[in-house]
Amino acid sequence: MAVDKDKLLQFLLRIGDSTLVLSHRVSEWCGHSPILEEDIALANTALDLIGQSQMWLGYAAEVQGEGKSADDLAFLRDAWDFRNVLLTELPNGDFGRTLLRQFLFDAFQSVLMGRLIKSSDETVAGIAAKASKEVAYHVERSADTVVGLGDGTEESHKRMQQALEYLWPYVGEMFESDEVDAAMAEAGIAPDPASLREEYDALVGRVLAEATLTIPEGKFAHKGGRTGYMHTEHLGHLLAQMQWLQRAYPGCEW
């Protein structure tokens, strides 16, 4: 069944921009992590995420059909054109908050990629199959760290609980559905995000319980990232740093 090209493009940007923006955030830790192993692990995670972005945005550019590349999409769009979920653009905070955000995102990715492997769109299924192998490692590691820090010292537990309270209102956006999602679900390209919530809650609930952390009660969800309606003020600063070189020296290569 033919799917609306613009909707498919939006869908691809939502995944590709989320992994791209999170990749940049995670890369900010390079050289600053508490210990060498963590520094290496974070850099590798950022690398996997950027690799996934290249695939998603590469396909997005192809669907767009304007002769652009993944790099053009990454470096030459403005904040209002980005479709990443707000969770990914939030500042890192401390190491614990970075890893908790990673876990909340990894858990979503692991559920989503598992479904996208069966996508009716061959390219989407191929990218998901590739990404899912990496995501499986990511979620295992971020979950371990969340448990280690949550169920750690009094100080680490306190910080992780604070991080959870800060981040939790950004989780709901990942499960929002709109007409883009409806079109993807109808064409068998991707599941309705709302249908992933149960599996997500089971996984996240299990890990957070083991980490002795309490999920906040409020149902409020910040949104506007994946629709492009309104990003946080943090995205512009992130893009200024990420895009600076290509903006200042257009077409620069090395």
Binding site: E38, N44, G51, Q52, Q54, G126, I127, R141, D144
Partner: protein
């Protein structure tokens, strides 16, 4: 020059070492998925190990250099994502070479079978990631040496 056979091209490719683990070749690693001629253009399909592996562009350059050195001028490199690379495609000789080099080869069980240095089997995981995306860091509790494990994916 006359067009070389596909088999000949494979033999040339078999001489290219992995840029990060030089004891195995890129053919051993299983990332060359296909070689064929489209008219007089030699088309080589390559799949990345990990999607963001920085060695990918290096490997592409090495392939191109190698084939040019053997006189080919029309070369096309195709990135093939699907089916996703798996360590199952790694040859047995590559696994043995890895172990000899000090890197524990991938195991379906998800962790190294034995210490590549002393053969001990009291092992502990230090970190899920190593010096490259494809490796994890482990330590042997028998000889107390840390070592890298090539992750099974």
């Amino acid at each position: 020059m006359t067009q070389p056979s596909v088999k000949q091209v494979w033999e040339w490719l078999e001489t290219i070492p992995d840029p990060e683990i030089p004891v195995i070749t890129i053919v051993d690693l299983g990332i060359i998925r296909n070689v064929e001629f489209d008219g007089d253009t030699c088309v080589v399909s390559v799949t990345p190990t990990y999607s963001g592996c920085p060695a990918t562009s290096m490997i592409n350059m090495d392939i191109e250099t190698c084939l040019r050195d053997h006189g080919l001028t029309k070369i096309e490199l195709k990135q093939q994502i699907s089916p996703a690379w798996t360590t199952d495609w790694m040859s047995d000789s590559a696994r043995a070479a890895l172990e000899k080099y000090g890197i524990a080869p991938p195991q379906p069980a998800g962790g190294p079978k034995r210490c590549p240095r002393c053969g001990g089997d009291h092992l502990e995981k230090l970190s899920q990631f190593g010096s490259t995306p494809c490796k994890a860091q482990w330590r042997c509790q028998d000889c107390l040496e840390p070592f890298e494990y090539f992750k099974c994916i």
